[in-house]
């Protein structure tokens, strides 16, 4: 009896879906390059390849934002409700999202109904460091492409959710995984390419950036991030990254880290890919004398060859896991082609994006302890005493002197992307103010084992807050306003031409602030913590907003003392879409 009902309802669902799916056109490279200017769709991570997360839409504005109501909500279900760090994409009335445990969905935007779902079958031995999250997919042609926790790239047919191709990035047993949204980039030599990085910086992998053909997933070029390793182009070895042993003494560059786990941005003006690189391996800095390039750096890469055009290292010889993968956002600074990045290490950097030259840098969080500031080239003025001590200097050689360092290793800003408003000319930075006790230990590399050589506990540094959304002026180096949050912020930010800033909190509140003053104009509780990034777009004359809610990510796992502040938060998994009621929208 039960069986009979199951079959009947399944076929009914299939029939409805087939009838109501909107007409879908293929996504072109022009759609992606011009994404920031076209409000009718969102076809790139970062709402435009430059990553400004700025929308030109003004239908939802300071006067009516308080009237926003949910249009629909959809559960990600499956009792697999862990952190939802995705940024949705929207094209021709269909929304594409990824979710925890390497899942993906297509949703009909007009009804909130699922069109298809893809559940990746994960092996038992995956090694994600920081929850089973995913940060979004890429759309190109008729494909939706995303990375999985077992270090594969999967290209799905955007209409059916069926696998077109699947490619292994690397061995998940060695610590590799993939959680970032892939980047689609135009190139003269290869046509549009799919650019991805790798995760696994805590396992002694070597970071790299790879470009693939979108039709087949075959590799076009590969660029290792650590000096001494050689890249490839069209199946042949290409150039070496840096010069062997220039800034890494000995052999440790071979397991040197520099994971590119957050993916990158692309600037159509300079035709460069910008990507951040993570911490060097191991965390214990005494084992690897030198600057350890290009760990904790921003790299500009030529999409034609995979060669490094310029690099800027934010934390040379990192000793605190200031895992500087943070996104590089291109913007115009009074006529200068600039780019900004808010680093894990607590400093905000403004660079010339054509050549990587340092323009200015300044702290965006309080009480930074490891450096007293930056010199004229942007190199930190280190407080040598704030490096955790060398274990070799201790009596038994097993544990070095502990120090208290600010920011903590989870950073002044972690993965969660900031936004830039072309009207206010301010960056809106989701930051956290916290410190850590950290000490070093000896460690040797073992495949698939954490390669740290450090012990640590995160602690708050203020009584009233950890998180703070900060409005940062890249021209003056000032923090214009700051809105505190009791819990650490872990979700992305978006801003609009109507002078609004949208972001979510671990308590689940999706908020709209006045971009000029930071005043809260609207808040809606989504039922679980928000660690995803919002989008907004226009369809049938209406402006819509979407955020995916679902608490998780690195904080509950790595947050130390701070984890207590979020221990009561419940998990979820829900896509929320908002619009103005008809009566308000008409005014």
């Amino acid at each position: 009896m039960k069986t009979w009902k199951w079959v009947a309802s399944a076929s009914a669902v299939a029939l409805t879906a087939a009838l109501t799916v909107p007409a879908q056109a293929d996504v072109s490279i022009d759609d992606i390059v011009n994404d920031a200017a076209t409000a009718g769709d969102i076809v790139s991570n970062g709402i435009g390849p430059q990553g400004q997360r700025y929308s030109t839409l003004t239908k939802i504005n300071k006067d009516n934002v308080s009237s926003l109501v949910p249009a629909w909500a959809m559960s990600l279900g499956g009792e697999k409700m862990r952190g939802q760090e995705t940024q949705p994409l929207v094209k021709d009335g269909v929304m594409y999202i990824t979710g925890s445990y390497s899942r993906a969905w297509a949703i009909d935007v007009s009804t909130g109904r699922e069109i298809w779902q893809y559940d990746h079958r994960l092996p038992e031995g995956i090694l994600p460091c920081c929850d089973v999250i995913n940060r979004g997919g890429a759309l190109f042609g008729d494909k939706f492409i995303f990375g999985t926790l077992d270090a594969k790239l999967v290209a799905l047919n955007a209409k059916t959710g069926k696998v077109v191709w699947s490619k292994k990035i690397d061995d998940f047993k060695a610590g590799f995984s993939s959680t970032a949204a892939p980047l689609i980039v135009p190139s003269k030599a290869h046509g549009p390419i799919l650019v991805t990085g790798v995760s696994g910086g805590e396992f002694g992998i070597v970071g790299r950036v790879e470009a693939r053909k979108i039709d087949t997933g075959d590799i076009v070029w590969s660029r290792p991030t650590i000096e001494g390793h050689v890249g490839s182009l069209n199946g042949k070895p290409s150039t070496m990254t840096g010069k062997k042993n220039e800034t890494w003494k000995g052999d440790l560059w071979k397991t040197g880290g520099g994971a590119t786990w957050l993916g990158g941005t692309y600037d159509p003006d300079t035709k460069l890919i910008f990507i951040g690189t993570g911490n060097p391996g191991p965390w214990n800095s005494h084992m690897r004398p030198g600057d350890n390039r290009w760990s904790c750096s921003r790299l500009a890469i030529d999409p034609e060859t995979g060669n490094i055009k310029w690099g800027f290292q934010t934390t040379p010889h990192d000793g605190w896991d200031y895992d500087g993968v943070n996104e590089v956002v291109s913007f115009d600074l009074n006529g200068t082609k600039a780019a900004a990045t808010a680093d894990r290490n607590g400093f905000f950097y403004v660079l010339n994006r054509e050549n990587g030259k340092f323009i200015r840098g300044f702290p965006f969080v309080s009480k930074i302890s490891w450096a007293s500031g930056l010199d004229k080239n942007g190199r930190p003025k280190f407080n040598k005493d704030n490096y955790p001590g060398n274990p070799k200097d201790s009596k038994d050689g097993k544990k070095g002197k502990a120090v208290f360092a600010v920011p903590s290793f989870l950073g002044g800003k972690n993965w969660m992307p900031m936004a830039y408003n072309q009207g206010t000319k301010l960056f809106y930075v989701p930051s956290n103010e916290w410190g850590m006790d950290i000490h070093n230990e000896p460690v040797t590399y073992k495949k698939g084992a954490a390669y740290l050589g450090a012990g640590f506990t995160i602690k708050p540094i203020f009584d009233d807050h950890i998180g703070a959304l900060k409005a940062v002026d890249p021209a003056s180096g000032k923090v214009v306003w700051s809105v505190k949050s009791k819990t650490p912020l872990w979700g992305g930010v978006m801003t609009t031409a109507a002078g609004l800033v949208f972001y979510g909190t671990p308590e689940g509140d999706f908020k709209a602030l006045d971009a000029t003053s930071g005043k809260e104009l609207w808040s809606f509780n989504t039922g679980s913590g928000i660690v995803g990034s919002p989008i907004t777009w226009e369809q049938d004359g209406q402006q819509y907003l979407t955020i995916v809610s679902g608490w998780g990510g690195a904080v509950p796992l790595w947050g130390g003392e701070v984890a207590k502040t979020v221990a009561h938060l419940n998990q979820g998994g829900m896509v929320w879409t908002f619009k103005l009621p008809k009566t308000v929208a008409a005014n």
Partner: protein
């Protein structure tokens, strides 16, 4: 609240008019006008015949044999043989189980193979197991048996769940081929795969081989098999191929619903022992 009675009457008269027109339109096709009575008397027959055969003509035919054990020892691994060799010009052979939560088990497109397949399947409860052969004249020939079994084969987690890591062995293929005296060849193969149904209580997503291609010299298609979740873990199949004597290897290519591609090659030796 009750609807006014005239609404109902109007509705019924419209329906009966529609039914009349439909019947008239279909009158020339006798098999459609009179749905053959199901010899297994299954409550699902009417729905399933529409789903699998649409409006095509259907006959229940003893030439299509389904062989199952009289006693099921393991409902996750029930041996089944579907055999339509008594028919000529078979284009497709499909196997389905009426009362399984996922009904469709597999489809064999024989191409250069005999319309015969042996395999193992999961059953969730006692159910009719049917094979239907589509012949070149567009008629479906349906045979079947009632399989008596205890339940639970589809909702129990795969044995692979208990292994340290199934992903190390997924896609490994074992196969052997025997030449028969009539010039055909029997191939028996096993592809390691969890074949997760997506119905297990531990929330493991559906993960199964969707297609298996069997190819001869120069990629010549010998058989194509479309598989679904009810095929047992580590699919183990027997096929009968019409194989030219010149064939050296038979190529197998399985693809799963995660895009995993598993290719292997089976030697096809031509050996005949000498009479002493």
């Amino acid at each position: 609240m009750q609807r006014p009675p005239h609404f109902l009457i109007k509705h019924i008269s419209r329906l009966s008019l529609f039914a009349l027109v439909t019947m008239m339109a279909c009158a020339p096709s006798p098999s459609q006008a009179e749905m053959p009575k199901d010899p297994l008397d299954s409550t699902m027959w009417e729905d399933l015949s529409k789903r699998f055969f649409g409006t095509a003509p259907i006959v229940f035919d003893d030439k299509v044999r389904v062989v199952v054990p009289s006693l099921v020892e393991n409902q996750a691994q029930v041996p089944v043989t579907a055999d339509a060799r008594a028919l000529r010009d078979v284009k497709k052979l499909i196997v389905f189980a009426d009362l399984n939560p996922i009904t469709h088990v597999l489809t064999l497109s024989p191409r250069k193979a005999k319309p015969y397949i042996s395999f193992r399947m999961k059953v969730e409860q006692a159910t009719p197991v049917r094979a239907a052969a589509l012949t070149g004249d567009g008629v479906w020939h349906v045979g079947g048996v009632f399989l008596d079994a205890a339940g639970g084969g589809c909702s129990a987690p795969a044995m692979a769940r208990k292994m340290a890591d199934w992903s190390e062995t997924v896609g490994q293929t074992q196969a052997k081929l025997w030449r028969e005296l009539d010039g055909s060849a029997r191939v028996r193969l096993k592809v390691r795969h969890p074949m997760d149904t997506g119905l297990a209580t531990d929330n493991t997503p559906a993960y199964f081989i969707e297609t298996l291609k069997v190819r001869g010299s120069e990629g010549k298609a010998l058989a194509d098999i479309e598989m679904f979740e009810p095929v047992s873990e580590d699919p183990t199949l027997t096929l009968m191929l019409r194989l030219p004597a010149s064939t050296i290897n038979v190529e197998l290519e399985a693809r799963d619903n995660n895009g995993g591609l598993f290719q292997s090659s089976v030697p096809a030796p031509w050996r005949q022992s000498q009479a002493q």
